[in-house]
Amino acid sequence: MSNPTIHWPDARAEQLQAARGRLEVAAQGLAARHREDVVRPLGQLLERFRDPESRWHQALIDGTVEQAGFSRETVSAGLKLGLANWSAEALAEMVQREFPTENKVGGRKLVPFPMTSVVLAGAIPMPNLLASMMPLLVGSPALIKPAARDALTPVLLSHCLSDLDAELGACIEVTPFPSTDTACLGPFLSSECVVASGSDETIREIAHQLAPSQRFVGYGHKLSLAVVNANTLRQRNHSDELARCLSADIALWDQLGCLSPACVYVVGESATEATSRLLESLADALADRAQQWPRGEVPEEVRAAIKQQRDEAEMRRAGGEDLQLLHSRDTAWTIIAETSGEWRPAPLHRFIRLHPVAGHEALLRAVQPMAGHLSSVALAGFESASPLRSSLVNGLARLGVCRVCPPGLLQAPALDWPHDGRAVLQPLARYLDSGNPEHGH
């Protein structure tokens, strides 16, 4: 008797098609809404998530702790800082700035995409929260594939929005499926607009599957840095205060976000001595953070990589290099004060190198290999409006840096910060020049 091959219907693919069908229906209602009737509920939603007393905020903490493996203390602190300025008012201002006139920009009519597919990534809720909302703000319903380690944020957003405005909540559908599920991936990526975050490989693979006529907005590999003026570290109390701020940047989200500093550059003629001072202060600060915000779950291979890097530093010192190493007894935190700006492997999870460089030209040379992959820089000790700061910021901007902030605030970008140097909503917008004077200037 032969064994027949049975092709079972793919339940997930069917659910995804059903979700697409529901969004097609919801799109009509969305198109008929005034902008204010989208922005207001989404603003209320942000206020709910910002409010530490709200059940939505608590659910976000609980879910992130469970799925992403961060400690509760880290998640609470990260959300408090990250959502501090993500208010209803900030949202309204952002939309107003990008679209001063409802449904028009510069006389051209905004024509929403019928549907926008959003691929989320990472384990940090804030970017996934914003990415899930963005299509609605340009009038397009959102079909969302959640990240493996943050399946909760878009679901919570959908429920919260439905609670505030059921019709608007119906403009979001969350459809989890493995990336290897081609029966789902094809239909998922068939939307007229696709937004994706993830590794460069993921972005390339997604782009490869899209037709040229589809709008694709990809956010690939990024990392951030801290840059410190060596002169600022002459006194211990300054060094301690700076270290306290930097430790927040490093410890929050266990250094795993694109806004986490991968390393610190200390710039100036006395950079080597200044680096030693910063090492001591930062060790104390990271030890404190380890108590205040314990590090979350760490894969075994990362623990092994941290130990390897520590042992390698020890060996390099034995070989005659004048570097310094301070670390916790376990792998909770590690700081290596290097002797040059040369880039070295970074296991993250609160592992940081301090690189002394003689001046800002040396800094820009050291950072050059990362050009195009840089996001934010925490800048410390450079007088605002000084020519030196201006020159440094311009140099970093040419290498792709799109945000500069004081230390301690790397993990607190404004709602409308130019992610990858782009406006937040404009990349998802589509325009029509109808030639109709009514729609003209």
Binding site: I124, R149, H221, L256, C263, E301, A304, K307, E314, P345
Partner: protein, 373 residues
Amino acid sequence: MATRNSDRAELDHSILTWINETPWTQDEERFDILARQLFAHQFARCAPYARFAQGRGLTPESIESWHEIPAVPAAAFKEMALRSFPESETKKTFRTSGTSGQKRGELHLDTLSLYEASLLASLRTLLLADLEPRRTMIRVLAPSAEEAPDSSLSHMFSVLLKDFGSPESGFDVTDGTLQDAALIERLQASSSSNEPLVLCGTAFAFVHLLDHLGERKLRLACPPGSRIMETGGFKGRSREVSRDVLHAELARCFGIKPSLVINQYGMTELGSQFYDSRLVDPSGSNRKCVPPWVRVRLVDPESSLEVEPGETGMVTIYDLANTGSVAAVQTADLGRWISGGTGGFEVLGRRSGEEERGCSIAADEMLSRDEPY
């Protein structure tokens, strides 16, 4: 010719004697004595290693067993020359793979005798035992030692062919390109023979060959008793394939028994290698066999202590064949004992963890991807 230090000569002789003994016999006391003598020798002659050990409060006089010998991280071989002999006596230097501009690890040797004895002993015992004394057709999916003079793998394969290969043996990678068409033709021609053959090479070369066979919808039928030995990883090369899937595909596409597809775990920084146990113990759990002159510890990265049976730890290797360098090497690989002590271990694969980090990435991964293959 410079005369090597007599202590070293005596040590080499003792270790070489053990390497050449058959059958393999585990001897804990013998290993401990030789390992501590070797540590004392390397401590006295490799200054960075001595400082490294002293930094941890360890000296040849202070340790009580080989377990306490400090292991250098494998990455240290990229940072400095770890030699226990004068630089002028360097006979051979093997380098880890990498593109120009990248730092490459180096193993410096003042003699190849232990290196070659170790590799031959392991190959003989764990891959070729049932094929001796006849010479076998061995095809290698890697460049020859002439084409890749600083590759320890190519050197190993060259020695293998010299000692075990029939006249039909050879290398199937020339000028950096796998000559897959010619190899397939040769394998097809040999399918009617009763003489087993050996295919060995890098995992990524085998993946390319499998892709080539797949495109042409070809399957081969190697003679009974034929076997495959593959080694190495995939980073930055071909698409990644799990070891289990690779072995199943190799068995299927080459008509070879699954128990005759063997993985080798080794590295440039070491003089010895570890092979799957399948051939010598087909009914037991597959594990990496540890030669008698080598010891493996699995170390917890948090505490640096040895892990309990069944737990995962960093693979740390004590290789007596590394007399000219540093014998104790800590890898960044994770492993688990299959049957404790010297019974055997498995090396665990690594998760990339990329998507978990969203758009951020460990910068070293980013930089290595930006470099050409």
